[in-house]
Amino acid sequence: EAGVTQFPSHSVIEKGQTVTLRCDPISGHDNLYWYRRVMGKEIKFLLHFVKESKQDESGMPNNRFLAERTGGTYSTLKVQPAELEDSGVYFCASSRTLQGPQHFGDGTRLSIL
């Protein structure tokens, strides 16, 4: 079974630009999660999809972040416009069931200059 894949693995952009991160969950996993880890801090929850619906987006930092999961398969996380404090590693995870083990991708390292 293929794992969770994220693209790109690395992105370097200038402040004010737009970046879109993509996550392909494990096939058949209805639950998809986004997290991020900012330098020196713990991994923080951003939001949770169940199929194409946002179950919980309480961790989204502000309205510059937009997550979508059209069709309930892959998901995108867009940051527009990017700010310096958005730098960090963005992880995606998926699980088959609620309260089941989440399987993580290797993350996208985002650097804002």
Binding site: Y33, M39, G40, H48, F104, G107
Partner: protein, 110 residues
Amino acid sequence: GESVGLHLPTLSVQEGDNSIINCAYSNSASDYFIWYKQESGKGPQFIIDIRSNMDKRQGQRVTVLLNKTVKHLSLQIAATQPGDSAVYFCAEYESNDMRFGAGTRLTVKP
């Protein structure tokens, strides 16, 4: 690889010794807990989980202990190997969403 937090708690053990990594959680209503291992440049990898109706669960070379009275979780690794060197995170489920602890860096000395 991914940068490491400067203030991450660390544990250094000799190869072959047992390791114990501790975690305090905050929500007494949490009923499901997971330990993850994260190597540099990789995402967190599932190690073992435990539900709140248990106080101990064993896997291959790993044991998780749960003390709900003091809201404490520990991960024991038997016969620690160099490949065990990584950052270890505990995570608790609050309702249907998971929250991570700060992480502990385990270094295994040959």
